[in-house]
């Protein structure tokens, strides 16, 4: 004697293929989104607080790295032209507008270099000073060539890199950091091309939080 299955089970059996497809796509999207939100923190090349990837912009880069760069750094060059190091957290704590940070450095083996602050939306941060970055020529340096940059919401120090609310709607923010820092080394020397994890880079420390 044949028993008819309950109606709910029967419907589920009919819909199981489209439901499985939707569930799989959802999982794929969540995993990819999670990878992208972690930024270059996913990549194996870490140098102090900075992270980078060797195949940014390259035709050899993996599909996930290319997707990440398309979202967070579209039109990046390959490393022979310029190398990109980012910082979005200090010792695992995301960069916050409530804290100030000190970047200490000297000269680096590259044609030129710059450090830029970007909002969580990856665009330049609105500020009254119209100061978005420092480069090796406009920094005020000490006699020995060393320099310091203070990254904070309120004016501090000689080389002040202001940060503040990003230009996009705060309701759209889905990243843990309020902003991040990007070091660009143009025509980097061999140390960066061959040993990006040990080559000399500026040091970043958290100064104080309110």
């Amino acid at each position: 004697m044949n028993q008819t299955p309950p109606k709910g089970i029967a419907i589920l059996k009919i819909l199981r293929w489209p439901l499985a497809l939707i569930a799989s796509l959802l999982i794929s999207a969540i995993l990819l989104s999670s990878f992208i939100k972690q930024g270059l923190g996913n990549t194996p090349v870490r140098n102090g607080q900075w992270t980078t990837a060797m195949s940014i912009g390259s035709t050899d880069s993996s599909s996930r790295l290319r997707a990440l760069v398309a979202i967070a750094g579209l039109l990046a060059s390959t490393r022979e032209d310029s190398m990109y190091y980012t910082v979005k957290e200090i010792d695992g704590v995301p960069l916050s507008l409530n804290c100030s940070y000190k970047i200490k450095g000297s000269e680096y083996d590259a044609n030129w270099w710059s450090i830029t602050a970007y909002g969580w939306d990856y665009y330049l941060i609105p500020n009254e000073e119209k100061r978005y970055s420092y480069n090796n020529e406009n920094l005020i340096k000490n006699e020995d060539g060393s320099w310091e940059i203070i990254v904070s919401a309120n004016k501090e120090g000689t080389n002040w890199l202001p940060v503040g609310a990003s230009g996009s709607d705060a309701a759209d923010k889905d990243l843990s950091q309020d902003f991040d820092l990007l070091l660009r080394l143009y025509t980097p020397g061999d140390a960066y091309l061959n040993s990006p994890d040990t080559a000399p880079l500026p040091q970043i420390t958290e100064e104080k939080c309110v």
Binding site: R16, A20, A23, S24, L25, L26, I27, S28, A29, L31, L32, F35, G57, S58, T59, S61, S62, S63, R64, R66, A67, V69, A70, I71, A72, G73, L74, L75, A76, S77, T78, E80, D81, N111, W112, S114, T116, Y118, D121, Y122, Y123, L124, I125, P126, N127, K130, Y132, S133, N135, N136, E137, N138, G167, L182, R184, Y186, T187
Partner: protein, 174 residues
């Protein structure tokens, strides 16, 4: 047991699926840029952009230390000629295909430093064209459409950098 196998299959397929999804995403982003920015700036035409500030929202992570000029190219009607003046400071001409990969580039750095102070004429051809049929600097794009980006250092005295971009061009070859 049957449901367990279904759930396991969904998880495995979901994990694998992020990779083809990652392959599609850059194409969608580039297509959107190509359509939106291309329509306002024009195709096969060089658009020199002002120095980036907080209002620059065409592309993420603009550098405030660079001047940019873009040319959205379409090689369906033939090759494109790019003429550029090369300043003393850092200059680069990078080519991007529709999946966002930087497939070719020229610079005035390293062993290409000899280009400083000169003009360059680049012929950009499509994937089905024969590079041997062209003279001079030839770049073959893997896709019919894409983007050429000129970057020039804007640090220090930027007079030469701005002039170099203003005197450059991108147009269909006649």
């Amino acid at each position: 047991m049957n449901w367990f196998r279904w759930i396991l299959a969904i998880l495995i397929i979901g994990w694998i699926g992020q990779f083809p999804m990652a392959m599609v995403l850059p194409n969608l982003i580039m297509e959107r840029l190509y359509q939106q920015a291309g329509q306002s700036l024009g195709y096969n035409k060089l658009a020199v952009r002002p120095r980036p500030d907080e209002t620059f929202r065409t592309v993420v992570r603009p550098s405030p230390d660079l001047y940019y000029a873009l040319c959205f190219y379409d090689l369906e009607q033939g090759s494109v000629n790019i003429n550029a003046e090369i300043p003393e400071r850092y200059w680069s001409m990078q080519f991007y295909q529709m999946n966002t990969a930087n497939f070719a580039g020229l610079t005035n750095q390293r062993d290409e430093e000899y280009r400083v102070g000169s003009e360059i004429d680049v012929t950009l051809i499509g994937p089905d064209s024969d590079p041997a049929a062209y003279k001079g600097d030839v770049i073959q794009s893997p896709t019919e459409r894409g983007l050429m980006l000129l970057r020039v250092s804007g640090i220090g005295d930027d007079t030469q950098a701005k002039a170099a971009l203003e005197n450059s061009s991108c147009q269909l070859k006649v």
